[in-house]
């Protein structure tokens, strides 16, 4: 049996949880190694060797060392194409390109405003950092416009890239989970019929439920 891959970082981190969801979908054994960010371990010289930007997650698979959660997910899907959910990153180039398109849409359009809202509404209060109402309002508006596009798309297609759950949908799980479950802005998603339906489906997957369990265990 292959050596478990190593994921460095707390499961509470949205980017770390993105990788964990992917590993669970693909049935790939992993070892989660804690990085105490409140003690600055992510900025320590040894950590910077594997993640020069001092962010989580970092990832190792034997001699390969990677960072950037979406790159890690792509690697896992490519290396273990036949394991677990085989269609997660598409089984032919056209489907893969469509998944890439929606992964990029997530990274470029959905992630920026949703990340700001997750920080402002879910993390800032815990960290005793003052919220910025103007920033919240601006990013709610931006996210709303993105979700309007998603609402239309998800009325035409069960999942973002087509009829099957893919890496593109998975990539949305971490930020959306916080916004729906921990903040009072969940209605951004639940008030949109198709988006709400999609959220219910993707968040109900076993892989995501396991990740949430890991987050709740308070690593």
């Amino acid at each position: 049996m292959a050596t478990p891959v190593k994921v460095y970082g707390p499961p509470l981190s949205t980017a770390v949880s993105r990788v964990l969801a992917c590993l669970l979908e693909k049935d790939v054994n992993f070892q989660l190694i804690s990085v105490n960010m409140s003690k600055g371990e992510h900025k320590a010289p040894d950590f910077l060797k594997i993640q020069p930007f001092g962010q989580v997650p970092a990832f190792q698979d034997e001699e390969i060392s990677l960072f950037e959660s979406r790159a890690i997910c792509r690697y896992i899907c490519d290396k273990h194409a036949d394991k677990g959910n085989r269609g997660l990153y598409g089984t032919n180039p056209l489907v893969k390109a469509s998944i890439d398109q929606w992964l990029e849409a997530e990274g470029q359009n959905f992630n920026p405003p949703s990340s700001v809202l997750v920080f402002q509404l879910a993390f800032a209060p815990r960290m005793k950092i003052k919220q910025d109402p103007a920033v919240i309002k601006q990013n709610e508006e931006k996210l709303g416009k993105v979700l309007d596009v998603y609402e239309k798309r998800l009325g035409e297609s069960r999942f973002l890239a087509g009829d099957e759950f893919s890496l593109a949908d998975l990539s949305h799980l971490p930020n959306t989970h916080y916004l729906v479950s921990v903040t009072d802005r969940g209605e951004l998603f639940t008030s949109r019929k198709n988006v709400g339906r999609w959220w219910g489906e993707i968040s109900g997957r076993d892989s995501w439920k396991k990740v949430v369990e890991m987050q709740n265990q308070g690593s």
Partner: protein
Amino acid sequence: MAAIKVHGSVLSTATQRVLACLYEKELEFEFVPVDMKAGAHKQEPFLSLNPFGQVPAFEHGDFQLFESRAISQYIAHEFSNKGTQLIYPGSKSMATLAVWMEVEAHQYDPAASKLAWEQFYKPLFGMVTDTAAVEENEAKLTKVLDIYENRLSQSKYLAGDSFSLADLHHIPVTQILVGTQSKKLFESRPHVSAWVADITARPACSKFLAMQKQ
């Protein structure tokens, strides 16, 4: 070969990213200008090509895509046997390539694009540069470029020894910044400076710039 079409603007860095890729791969394509000044990108028929109302959009026969980095990856894989090799074979090298493509998208481009907006596009559109925004984003880009300097002292190109999509994705916005006061951020870092000079000197870069003169 099924026809390739790019819908976009010759001034848009995202459009240029796709054009650079097509020129590197020596592929024939039709460029369909989108009149952004008239708001064509926010209306049909463009919205059917990109529901986010952003340029570029891409067609290869009946197959349609949006998001420049998804388009360039599709082109690089679909036409891997033509023109410049832009991807690396093998899952380990592809993984490193994927890492540096994400770095460009999430660490470099946000700050670089804001600097290009403030110092190049705003003056072009008769708007006033926000010097505080320039300062803020130069500070952000500085931190990223320190990491690039270290990386490029170990590796000729970002993802390995040969030019790849990871480098190509940087070309459009970097080419703009070289013409602004932000060029000092590159010039003060020898490896970054050499890499910038190298990637902006590629024929594909002058080819997409030449389209602005047509």
